[in-house]
């Protein structure tokens, strides 16, 4: 069985990737309705942090199986 950390990595990678891509899209095509601190682009850097954390978890656990 794959360890739980592998699945944590997978979901962080998928969600982080979607949020990062969405953030880049919002940077290129700014939405009409502005949120507070929109100029900080939290979706880009937070998505990147999630994606990085997810990839690390996946790589570290991809070959591990537990009984």
């Amino acid at each position: 069985m794959k360890p739980i950390w592998y699945f944590v990595g997978l979901i962080l990678t998928i969600m982080g990737g979607i949020i990062l891509i969405s953030g880049i899209y919002n940077l290129l095509y700014p939405p009409e309705s502005k949120i507070v601190l929109a100029e900080k682009h939290p979706d880009i850097w937070w998505g990147a942090i999630m994606l990085t954390a997810g990839i690390i978890y996946v790589i570290r656990n991809r070959k591990i199986t537990i009984e």
């Binding site: 794959k2 739980i4 969600m15 979607i18 919002n26 939405p31 949120i35 507070v36 929109a38 939290p42």
Partner: protein, 555 residues
Amino acid sequence: MPENAIGLSFVDWLIIAVYFVFVIGIGFYLKKFTKNENDFFLAGRRNSSWVAGLAFLSANLGALELMGMTGNTFKYGMYVAHFYWIGAIPAMLFLGIYMMPFYYSSRIKSVPGYLKLRFDEKTRVLNGFAFAIMTLLVSGINLYAMALVLHTFLGWNWDISMWMAAITVAVYVTMSGLLSAIFTEIIQFFLIWFGLFLVSILGIVEIGSVHEIFARVPESFSHLWSNSANPTANGMMVSWGGIVLGLGFVLSFGYWTTDFLVVQRAFSAKDLRAARMTPILASFFKMMIPFIVILAGLIAIVLANDPNSGFALIKDGGQVNYDSALPLLIARYYPSGLTGLGVTALLAGFMAGQAGNISAFNTVWTYDIYKSVLNRNASDSHLLWMGRAATVAGVAISLVTAYWAKSFPSIMDYMQAIFSWVNAPLFATMLLGMFIVWITPNGAFWGLVAGMGSSFTLYLAVKYDWINQSIITMSDTSSVMAANFWRAWWAWIICFAVTIIISIFTKKKPKEELVGLVKGLTKETVAKDAAVYKKPEFYAIISFIVLIILNLIYW
């Protein structure tokens, strides 16, 4: 759609869909590893202390708690941090150091199972029934609350919200029981941190600094202890006595050391050391939760007090909806994509809480009621089938309870009473049972009956003005929260006293039947020759020091 509803974009829906597909997929994946009743009810007893520890914490970390505690911070100020620090950490450390050896070494499958070994069948069945009823009520009320939140803030349909969540939980818990519940709880832990901690970060960025936040909240809202001598000087209107005795001792120890919903996670650990480390590791993460909920609540206070911020909590019929603080902060700061993550974190919290309740219920029903009362000769394979059937039945009953709560919303007021009714007296029974040899089965049974009965009676007496609240809080000024703390204390005292008095006059169990169950008749579990840094006691001391430092910083 309600006027306050947060709009979701395609990306937000995509994030939510990923979560649903993921948790159901995990249920299917884990089913092939769930071969027997040990796998289903105890997750195969193969978990490390990290896995069991995060699940232990996450089982308690529901969305209601996150939103409720952020709202309570808006209402009461920093005192809400007591729920996470003195109201949790000492009890978690006590469980790991002193109680876990009795629980884990006796190879029981549930907390009522310990009562059977230490006392007798009737005490076990009494607690089993009380726990099963409490769990299903809480599960149903949580389901109702989830639908209420999703309807209020996202404009979702009531029925679809409740049925989608209930069916998803039923599918993955039926397939692999505690194993899938634990997996989804750990995923929930990460989603909550990634989905909600950003609110605090962006709040600090907007306001300027943490120091600035504290400078702009009312003085009575920004301390933990320095204004606790006089109940009128703090936001919660409670004295230090109520905090220490009611919350820090009875409610906290009652919940963290006896509530099977959380303790079950430690039973899934691979060995005794991992089981003891489970609550100790969880204590470090528990201490960090205020950096999401308390900080978000304080940020909401600062923004609400600033007329230029444009931030105000929702009002329902003239009443402030404190639970709206966290969703409104998400709407304020999160762009599309991140909004989906924030909503998913709340959804994950609701569903993992639901799964936790259901997986605890199916174990107590199967072992402490069905096998104990209805079918004593049931085979292991039959019990596995019964666990799955109990999961489906538990979810169905939760749905009925949820619809009942929808037509009778004041049932929410009874939530706190339900907890203090079952957990506060049980802690007195467990404490006496584990540490005093001469406590008898009849003493434990009648002590529990008296404690549970008195707790509920006191609740009704104050609610319907049979007695004045000041009689139980010993103060003319007190909040509902203060009354909860003091009522739990009195229920504990009554259970403690009745158990001792009846034990003096009733037949004791032979000592040979109590080996491994009571201190003094159990061999020491401390590995004397192990390196210091490998001992659970070492990490418990570090955790306790961190607790003291946090209390001193925010004194």
